[in-house]
Each structure stands twice: as C-alpha cells, then as structure tokens.
Symmetry: C2
Subunit: 276 residues, 2 copies
C-alpha cells in the first residue's frame, strides 16, 4: 500500500509555499490531499483556489477555520456568526465537507469557562443547519489547555464531544489532533466514543516538542521529533473503523524558515516512517 | 477576621529576598506562614533556616520539592530515591508536614506516559512509609498539561488522586494549585473527591496570564491579573471542609525583577482582595 495514499498536508505546515507551488509539489511527491486555510485562500482568490485544487486532483480534507464564538458583545457576536457563515460558504466552494472550528477564548473580563462553552453551543445551533444545507460538517477542535484562556475554551476531546453530541453526527463532530490531546489519559476513551458515533470529522498529527516558544503557538514538532507515539494514535483512531485522510498540521517557525518543498518532502517521509 | 490569617507566601514568589529578609518582611506585614524551597534553604543552611523560621514564629506550610521519579536507568533511579529521602529529612527538620512532589517528565527516549505514571507509584511505595515515620506527608502536584513531557507526567487532579489513593491519606495526598488545574472541567469534582478523603495536603494559588513566556515556566500571574476566579476556587476547596493555609506561589520574571518587599506587600494585598 502506498504510504501516502491517506496523507493530507495542511497548508499551514508549508505556508511559505504559494497555492500553485503547493499543488505542484504535491503532484511531484504523490500527495493526494490538502487542508486549506481561509487567509491564504482569500489572498489567492476563492474561486481560483477552488479551480486550482480541482484541476490538480487534490482532495481538500478540511478548511481552517471557523469558530471564535465566545464574544458577549452583541455586535461582535453577529460579526462572528456572519464570518462563520462565510467560512461555511468558502468550504463548500472549495469542495471540502469539513470546517474546523476553534471555539475562541474567554470573553474580555470574564473568568467563566462554563458559560463560554455554553455560548458556543448556542452558536453551533445557529450554524450547524446552515452548514448542513451546504454539505459542510462542523468539526470542533479541542485545543491544548494552554490555550484555554485566549484561544479555545474547549480543552479536551470529551468537552468537544459533549458539545457535538447535542447535534446530529453528520452536522457536528470533532477534530482529533495529537498535539492537543496526547497528554490526556481520557482521550483514548473519547476517541472510541467519537468514532463509535461517527464524529471524528478530522484527524490531525503534530508532535510535542519542548521547550515551547514564547506565545506557545508555533512550536509544534515535526513527526518523530517529540513525545507522541504517532503509530499508537493512528491505531487508536483506526480501531474505531475510521478510514479518512490524516492531516499533518505543523506550526513551526523553524520549518517555516526552510525551503517549503524540502519541508513537504521531509514531512511526507516522516508521515510514512512514523505511521507505517 | 484577619484576611492574612491563613495566607502563606511561597518563597519562590519573592526569591529575590534572602531568608532573613523574608522573615522580617513577613513579621512586618503580619504574614504567618511560608512555603520553602530546598535550594535556598540549603544555601542558607538547613539547621540555620529551621532555627530562623522557628524563632520568627513562621509556620512552614510546605517544602518544595521532591519527585522527579520517572528515570528508568537504575543508577539514576537510586539517586532520585536517595534525594527524595533527603528532601523528606529536610522537611522534618524545617518542621513542615508536607513535601510537594513533582513527578518528573518522560524518561529519555520514552513516549509512554502510562508507564511513567506507574513508575511513580512504585517510587511512592518506597518513600511514603519513610516519610510517615518522620511525620511528613507526600503531596503529589499535578502540573499543567503543557509540562507533561518534560517535567510532570501527572497532569490532572484525578491522575494525582489515582496515584495517591493507593496509599493511606495521611501518607500521600495532592496539591491543588489553581494555575495547573483551573482549565479542567473535572477538577471541581476531583477537589471534592480529594477533600472527602482528606487528601488535600496543599492548596496553592497563582493566576493564569497570557502570552506565556518562552519555556512557559515563569509566566504565572499575580492574583487578579488573569483568568482564574480565586474566590470560586477557595470556596470550592473550603466546601470540602478544608481549613488549612493557602499558599501563593508565583514564578514570574516580572515580579522577580522588582523589590521583594514591595512584591510581598502587593501579593498579600491581592490575596486579601481576591479571596475575601
């Protein structure tokens, strides 16, 4: 079996590559799928990007990202909901069935994580049917607890599932990203719970390396460089019957400073060696 | 009621102060208790430090720290156990009943968190009776999951309790430190579980502020500056019947750069305003 047949490269991993350069490099390396981000897609042009990936025969496994739904200010909340509807439209145009949702952090001045999580549920109730009409599923991504205050109040797979399970599985599911959940002794059971319900809408890999950089955003490790057993996680997810693409999404200043094609080749190689 | 009657200042918060300066400042501000660290105590001299705090009438609420018990190499493991016995002896000499235990990270080359946690249990079985004979309780401190690989494989209160409950409650308990557990929606239930079993051996406060600094070690926020509701946490712990001292332990480069007595006064003031 071709070790790259289920490999998807998240665009952010090689953000130094333009969309055409990424498509070319994927063709050259036999990479069948990509995860895209809204900002570089908008920069290139949404319709042009959709045509580019279609012509290249690339599967778009996800669009990052919607979310940031915790604002209390009514005007901000309306803006956030509008922006999420736009993201859903963009996902549909790009031909992906999955929009990754990063919930957002605590609203200014609030210390109430529970209320913020409920706020997200209210927003999902508005957005999920809109997305379903366009063939798009919302995938709630729990982020590592170190992002709980400023980026994502949903910190564990169980919390993400508690939210997702209020909606039909073909409308709202979760992202399993090794970087965010690897430390959690309850994550294996949550993966089983998510898989049994058909709610694993995206599976992403990144390794955990230390020391973390300032701001802790751009220190995700290349596969094999860190503390996470990728093969174990793949087996765990596949044990639920899951057979989708596996995205590699690295935010890493070191990788971004290098030649993009070289990083893509290295990442594909690591994917093969760490998961097969 | 005197708002500082249950306040304990962890020495690390004002590490720019020598032990005598700390004792003087505590006397001046009416602070009745301190948490000590092994390194500055050793530098001042163990017996001299014990005499100093005794003469000053200060309660020593804890000694930081034992632990780092995950080494697989037999020689390293023996060294770690010997070092922990020394820490227990030091705690007894200083007149505190509580040694804080930070478990240690993954051993070199290992990606097996479960095995590392079991390894700690084996070590506790050797150390807990030794400590009990000296009137010292071991307090397992779960550290924030961002420390799971390199510092502490015990990331949640529930994990700490799972370990502690293998031993008598007067031998092994847990530390509840707001900084490490505030994000965890299961922590409130774990606090109740710990309190009901008499296993809250230490209660520490620090606030969560962002952005985190590089290495993420020295970014603990002054009480009131961050995302954590201190009053809610105090009420939660007290609801279990707990009436001990409350330690404030901040690792913060900004605070360390300032005048130590000024920081101590500010911290005592914040303790009063944020918990009363």
């Amino acid at each position: 079996m071709n070790p790259l047949s289920r490999f998807s490269i998240n665009q952010m991993t090689v953000r130094q590559l333009s969309l055409p350069a990424l498509a070319d490099a994927c063709a050259g390396l036999g990479i069948p799928a990509v995860g895209l981000w809204r900002e570089p897609v908008a920069e290139y042009g949404l319709d042009a990007a959709a045509k580019l990936v279609r012509d290249a025969g690339l599967t778009v496994t996800s669009l990052c990202r919607g979310g940031f739904l915790t604002a209390l200010d009514p005007a901000e909340r309306t803006r956030a909901l509008d922006d999420n509807r736009a993201a859903i439209d963009e996902a549909a145009t790009l031909g992906t069935d999955t929009l990754v949702m990063v919930s957002g952090g605590l609203p200014p001045g609030s210390r109430d994580l529970v209320a913020a999580r409920e706020h997200i549920a209210d927003a999902l109730a508005l957005l999920a049917p809109y997305a379903a009409e366009r063939g798009v599923r919302l995938a709630i991504e729990p982020l590592h607890p170190m992002f709980a205050s400023d980026r994502c109040v949903v910190s564990t797979l169980d919390q993400a599932l508690d939210l997702a399970e209020r909606f039909p599985a073909d409308q709202v599911g979760v992202v399993v990203d090794t970087y965010h959940v690897w430390w959690d002794d309850r994550a294996p059971a949550a993966v089983a719970r998510a898989g049994a319900a058909g709610r694993i809408h995206s599976f992403q890999l990144a390794d955990w390396t230390t020391p973390l950089p300032a701001g802790v955003l751009n220190g995700r490790g290349q596969l094999g460089d860190g503390a996470i057993d990728m093969r174990e996680w793949l087996e765990r997810v596949e044990a639920t019957g899951w057979t989708g693409f596996i995205e590699v999404e690295l935010f890493n200043d070191g990788l971004w400073a290098r030649d993009g094609v070289e990083v893509l080749e290295e990442t594909a190689g690591r994917f093969a060696s760490e998961t097969f």
